[in-house]
Amino acid sequence: MSVTWQKRTHGVQRRQEAFDRALARVFLGGVIVITLLGSLYLALVATNTRLSGKVWQMEEGIAEWQRQNEALTVEIARLSSIPVLIQRSIALGYAPAANVHYLVLPEP
C-alpha cells in the first residue's frame, strides 16, 4: 500500500506525531515565555504612557486652577476697591465726613 497509509497504520506516523507533539510542547513553552516577557515589558511602557498622560492632565489642571485663582483675586480686589467700599459704606448709612477734628489722646 502507500507510504501514507502505512505510516498511519504502522506506527511510523505515530512516532512522527509523538515527536511533533514533543516539539510542540517545547515551542509552546517558548511562546509562553516570550508572551510573558513581552507583556511585562508592554505593561511597563503602558504604565509609563498612562502616567505621563496624567502628568500632562495635571499640569493643564494646574493652569486651570491658576486661572480660577486669579479670577477670584480680581473679584476680591473689586469688592474691596475704594469705590465699592464707598458705595457699601453709604448703603450702610455712613456719610462722607465734612469737618473732621482729630483729638490727640495720650497712649493708654
Binding site: T9, H10, R14, D20, R21, R25, V31, G38, S39, V45
Partner: protein, 391 residues
C-alpha cells in the same frame, strides 16, 4: 484489504496549534500596544472574542467535519440569505453596508461568507471528480457560484473580500484539478469584470488611480498607505520597542484593525515583522501538509481552502500595509480587532485541526477503500490529465 489493526485516534496537529497559539498571543500583545493609548476596552473585547473563538475552535476540532459535506448546501444558502439581509438592512458605515446588529452584536456576513464559501466549494469540488474538466459541469457552474457570492459581497461594497473570495475559490479549483487554461481564461474574464466594477465604483476607482500614480512616485501614495509605510520604515531593523510606537497616537489611521501590521513594523522592526511573517509561513506549511496527508478529498480541499483563506487574507493585508497594493481595508488574521474575523478564523483553524485528526471512525474503512485507492492510483499513471478529479 484493510488490516484489523486497531487504529488509535489521531491527535490534531499540535505544531499547528502551537503556531496558532503564538500568533494569537502576539496578536493580543500588539493589539494592546495599539490601543492602550485610547483605553483598554478594545483589548478586553478582543480577549472575549479570542476566548469565544477558542471555544468555537475546540468545538469544530472535535466536530466530525464530514457532516459539513452534507450540510454544505444549507450553509451556503444561509450565507447568501445573510448577505442579502445585510444589503437590505445593514448599517451603513463609511458608505458600505457590511454589518447588521442582532441583540447588540454586530455581525459581518462578508467575513462569514469566506468560510462558508470554502466549505461549500470544497464539498462541491469533492463531488465533481472527472467532470471538473467539462465546462458545463466544471467551470461554468463554479463560476456562477463564485460569481453570485462575490457579487453579493462586492455590492456591499466590499471589493477586498470579494477579491479574496474569488482568489481562494480559484486556487481551490486549481488544486482540485481544474484545467489551467480554463482557469487562465476565467481569470482574464474575471479580471476584466473586476476592473469594470472597480471603475464604476468611485472610491475604488480613485484608489486605483492613486495606486497607478504611486507606482511611479512613492510620495503619491494614499494617505493611509503613506502613514503605514512611514510607520514601518520608522521601525528600522530593531523597532522602537513594543509599546513605544509613535504614529499610532493619532497619525496612523485605524491602528487596531487594518493597520496593525504597521504598528508591528514600527514597534518590533524588521525582526518582528519577519517573525510574524514566519509564523504565517509555518502555519501555511502545516496547513498544506494536512491537506496533502488527508486521505479524504473533501477534507483535503477543506484544509487547503481554510489555509489559503487565512494566508491570502494575511498576505493581502501585509501587501497593502507595505504599499505594494492599492489600498483596501482588510484585516490581519489573528491580529486585527474584530469579532467576526477572529471567530471565523478560529473556526477555520478548528476545522483544520479536525481534518488533521483524521476521518471519523466509522467511515474510515469505506473511504480507505475507495477514494484512497483511486487517488493514489493516479500517481502511477502520470500521463492522465486528471488530478483526483474523477474518483
Amino acid at each position: 484489504m484493510v488490516s484489523k489493526a486497531k487504529t488509535k485516534p489521531v491527535h490534531g496537529d499540535s505544531l499547528l496549534l502551537v503556531t496558532v497559539a503564538a500568533l494569537l498571543s502576539l496578536g493580543l500583545l500588539m493589539l494592546y500596544s495599539a490601543t492602550f493609548y485610547v483605553g483598554v476596552d478594545f483589548w478586553h473585547q478582543q480577549l472575549k472574542w479570542v476566548a469565544l473563538g477558542l471555544l468555537v475552535m475546540a468545538v469544530t476540532a472535535y466536530f466530525p467535519y464530514t457532516i459539513l459535506q452534507k450540510l454544505a448546501v444549507p450553509i451556503i444558502l444561509g450565507t447568501i440569505a445573510l448577505l442579502v439581509v445585510v444589503l437590505l438592512f445593514g448599517n451603513t458605515i463609511l458608505g458600505a453596508q457590511r454589518s447588521f446588529e442582532i441583540l447588540g452584536i454586530s455581525i459581518q456576513p462578508g467575513v462569514l461568507a469566506r468560510l462558508a464559501a470554502v466549505i461549500y466549494i470544497a464539498a462541491w469540488l469533492a463531488t465533481k471528480g472527472e467532470q471538473l474538466h467539462q465546462m458545463r459541469y466544471g467551470l461554468l457552474p463554479f463560476a456562477v457560484i463564485l460569481g453570485v457570492l462575490c457579487g453579493l459581497v462586492a455590492l456591499q461594497p466590499d471589493l477586498s473580500i470579494a477579491m479574496l473570495l474569488a482568489a481562494t475559490g480559484m486556487l481551490m479549483f486549481f488544486f482540485a484539478g481544474g484545467d489551467p487554461i480554463q482557469i487562465f481564461l476565467s481569470l482574464l474574464i474575471g479580471g476584466g469584470v473586476f476592473g469594470m466594477l472597480a471603475w464604476q465604483l468611485t472610491h475604488a476607482r480613485e484608489r486605483l488611480i492613486d495606486y497607478m500614480a504611486a507606482l511611479k512616485d512613492p510620495s503619491q501614495l494614499s494617505y493611509h498607505a503613506l502613514r503605514s509605510v512611514m510607520a514601518i520604515g520608522e521601525g528600522g531593523v530593531g523597532g522602537l520597542g513594543i509599546g513605544s510606537g509613535r504614529l499610532k497616537t493619532g497619525y496612523l489611521p485605524v491602528p487596531h484593525t487594518d493597520s496593525i501590521f504597521a504598528v508591528i513594523g514600527e514597534e518590533a522592526g524588521l525582526l518582528g515583522a519577519l517573525l510574524v511573517l514566519g509564523l504565517f509561513v509555518y502555519f501555511a506549511y502545516r496547513g498544506y501538509r494536512i491537506a496533502l496527508e488527508t486521505s479524504d478529498p473533501f477534507g483535503a480541499l477543506l484544509a487547503f481552502g481554510v489555509t489559503t483563506m487565512i494566508i491570502l487574507g494575511a498576505l493581502l493585508n501585509v501587501m497593502v500595509m507595505t504599499g505594494l497594493v492599492p489600498f483596501t481595508g482588510t484585516a490581519l488574521p489573528f491580529f486585527s480587532y474584530g469579532g467576526s474575523e477572529m471567530l471565523v478564523t478560529l473556526a477555520g483553524v478548528g476545522l483544520l485541526v479536525g481534518v488533521s485528526r483524521g476521518r471519523p471512525k466509522g467511515d474510515w474503512n469505506a473511504i480507505l477503500d475507495r477514494g484512497w485507492r483511486n487517488w493514489r492510483a493516479r500517481l502511477s499513471r502520470g500521463v492522465r490529465r486528471t488530478g483526483f478529479a474523477g474518483h
